[in-house]
């Protein structure tokens, strides 16, 4: 058997009260325990494959209806209603029977996000069960799990778990006597953030460069290998067995209206107890930051928080109480994104933090469309000179005139994502940029956030 991780990781997965009715534990059962991934543990301790047996007794359309009732929204970033997405898949007619695919997006590249990794590490069978149920609901015969290349050990683990499921008759031919065949394949990416974008992912899955496709056609019409395809995030698919088990209506009661269920929030940066915390949607952000994660690790005041992975515009003090769900975050001008909360204390130089993020986007731009390819590089250059004491007085206006020419004018949302941090930083911490330009040095005295001579 392939090499399975033996080195435990050392972050928080739990807190007092986790697993109670107020804070149900759906997604992180057994997290932290390296032996938890086996099929026998999943079946024995975590009600594994109960939902699948239930789903296979229902007709596919009612399974989708159940997911719709739950009002589950995609956990990959955009928050699109999952049940609705599944209904976009074409129906078979007498003349045409479609080959369809369900694809799991396990590319997890958004800085600040590290939740999908924990699901695959500790509960791979929950993801597999979710994919089989999704496969049944959309009548697919094949599913793919696209995993980022750096997670090699997780791919080995998924392969082992898939084999366990196959041996138990949950995958393969004639699943549990229904006459329906379904199987899963893992696919290893090779280091490109853009492959998290669903159409870039499909290109990569076909063995091509990970360049996003022009939409329409949407993946539900022409996806992987030209066939109708649905792409969902790991956490979205792993929530599906929970919904089938407890019922869509019950799931919808958790969280806030239109933002049902629990979600794994990852907290990183200047925090005392970094880690993953599963909370009902709509939990206030300061509860997570102060109560659960223990507040700022440096003992200083928190200056800014990025609430949903690095593409989400940053928030300052007055918005730290924001409920963490898709709608509330949107109302405050940011986004819930991938649920990665990044905490920055008052010594962080916002200019340098923004430079680091912009360098990331410039590096990861696939280069297909001009506003993103050229614009991100320009933004990086301008921020670089501001950070290094060569900023010009007109630079801030230059940035302000650049971002609207990138935002919403690109082929995929990476261009918009690049503008989020920089626009919000300029809006909320403009004085730091001005100070930098005027005094040719940092407004604060935190440690450096960038390498002196970067390789790229």
């Amino acid at each position: 058997m392939a090499l399975i991780r033996t080195k435990p990781d050392s972050q928080s997965y739990t807190f007092p009260g986790f697993g109670s009715d107020r804070f149900p534990n759906f997604m992180l059962r057994g997290a932290g325990d390296l032996d938890n991934w086996h099929l026998k543990t999943y079946e024995g301790r975590h009600e594994g494959y109960v939902a699948l047996k239930k789903a296979l007794k229902m007709d596919p359309a009612s399974v989708t209806a159940e997911v719709k009732t739950s009002s589950l929204r995609g956990r990959g970033g955009a928050g699109f209603p999952t049940g609705l997405k599944w209904t976009f898949m074409p129906k078979d007619t007498d003349e045409k029977k479609h080959v369809r695919y369900v694809v799991c997006n396990a590319d997890e590249g958004e800085p600040g996000t590290f939740k999908d990794r924990a699901i695959m590490e500790y509960n791979p069978h929950q993801l597999i069960e979710g994919m089989i149920i999704a496969g049944w609901a959309m009548q697919c015969r094949q599913g793919f799990i696209y995993v980022r290349g750096e997670f090699k050990w997780l791919i080995d683990k998924l392969d082992a778990a898939i084999q366990e499921a196959r041996d138990a008759g949950y995958l393969g031919k004639n699943i549990l006597g229904t006459g329906w065949d379904f199987d899963l394949l893992t696919y290893r990416g090779a280091g490109a953030y853009i492959c998290g974008e669903e159409t870039a992912l499909l290109n990569s899955l076909e063995g091509r460069r990970g360049e996003p496709r022009v939409k329409p056609p949407f993946p539900a019409t022409r996806g992987a290998y030209g066939q109708p395809t649905t792409v969902n995030n790991v956490e979205t698919l792993a929530a599906v067995p929970v919904i089938l088990r407890i019922g869509g209506a019950e799931y919808a009661k958790i969280g806030t209206p239109n933002n049902a269920g629990t979600r794994i929030f990852g907290i990183s940066g200047h925090t005392k107890r970094p880690g993953l915390y599963e909370l009902p949607m709509g939990t206030p952000m300061d509860f997570l930051v102060n109560e659960l994660a223990g507040g700022c690790s440096t003992g200083k005041k928190i200056k800014a928080i990025i609430p949903g992975g690095c593409s989400a515009p940053m928030l300052d003090e007055k918005d730290f109480d924001c409920p963490m769900d898709f709608d509330a975050m949107k109302a405050r001008g940011t986004m819930a994104g991938s649920g990665g909360v990044i905490v920055m204390d008052e010594d962080v130089c916002i200019v340098e933090a923004t430079l680091r993020l912009t360098r990331f986007y410039a590096h990861e731009s696939c280069g297909q469309c001009t506003p993103c390819r050229e614009g991100c590089n320009w933004l990086e250059m301008i921020l670089h000179r501001i950070e290094h004491g060569e900023g010009r007085r007109e630079d801030l206006d230059l940035i302000a005139s650049l971002t609207p020419r990138i935002n919403l004018r690109t082929l995929c949302p990476l261009g918009d994502a690049a503008c989020g941090p920089i626009d919000s930083a300029l809006q909320k911490f403009r004085h730091e940029f001005e100070y930098h330009i005027e005094h040719k040095r940092c407004y604060v005295k935190g440690q450096a956030l960038t390498v002196a001579t970067p390789a790229h």
Partner: protein, 190 residues
């Protein structure tokens, strides 16, 4: 995407193929060829085998240079241009040799807030190697990488394709380097 490099000299710039390092041999080992052939039927389309085949070729030859790309194209019977395009798109295919221990440090924001940039500088000084180079004894190479999905446990370090080392401080860094020196970590490509 990396922006096109300015020409190295005022003379005619090198064509992309000429910039690439050369491998010691021009063909893949017999076992690697067979593994790649087996891949061709694993996916709905043989083009889909390009990425996995490049991984195998890279492990076989040490890096995914011109020879490795040509071989993948030959064995899978797909256009060379396609393979070149793919191999140069993804950062995990290396067009020149790396050390026996290729150390990758995440310096993206969450890790930087906890000392990722300083970790990279420390590594650069301790091993006396610049990014993109390999030490004279062929042991070490270092690379600054983007988010590794270990943001809560940063700063983090990945050696070759192994499980990450997390929460790296001075003592842990010593331990990782020592483990490599002692041969407790599989070498690149093994």
């Amino acid at each position: 995407m990396n922006h096109p490099l300015p020409p190295e000299t005022s003379e005619r710039p090198l064509a992309p193929g000429q910039r690439l390092a050369h491998a010691a041999r021009t063909s893949l080992s017999e076992s690697c060829v067979q593994e790649i052939q087996a891949l061709a039927t694993k996916y709905p389309d043989k083009l889909a085998a390009t990425l996995p085949a490049l991984y195998l070729a890279q492990a076989d030859m040490g890096f995914a240079g011109l020879e490795a790309m040509r071989e993948v194209a030959r064995v899978l019977e797909i256009p060379e241009g396609h393979v070149f395009g793919v191999a140069t798109f993804y950062t995990m295919f290396h067009q020149k040799p790396v050390g026996k221990y290729h150390l990758q440090v995440c310096t993206n924001l969450c890790c930087a807030l906890r000392g990722g940039a300083q970790l990279f500088e420390k590594l650069r000084q301790r091993l006396a190697v610049q990014p993109g180079e390999v030490t004279a004894d062929g042991m070490w190479s270092i690379e600054e990488v983007e988010c590794l999905g270990s943001c809560g446990t940063g700063p983090c370090l990945q050696v070759n394709h192994e499980v990450y080392d997390e929460f790296i401080d001075d003592a842990k860094l010593d331990a990782v380097i020592e483990a490599c020196r002692q041969g407790h970590v599989p070498e690149w490509g093994k």
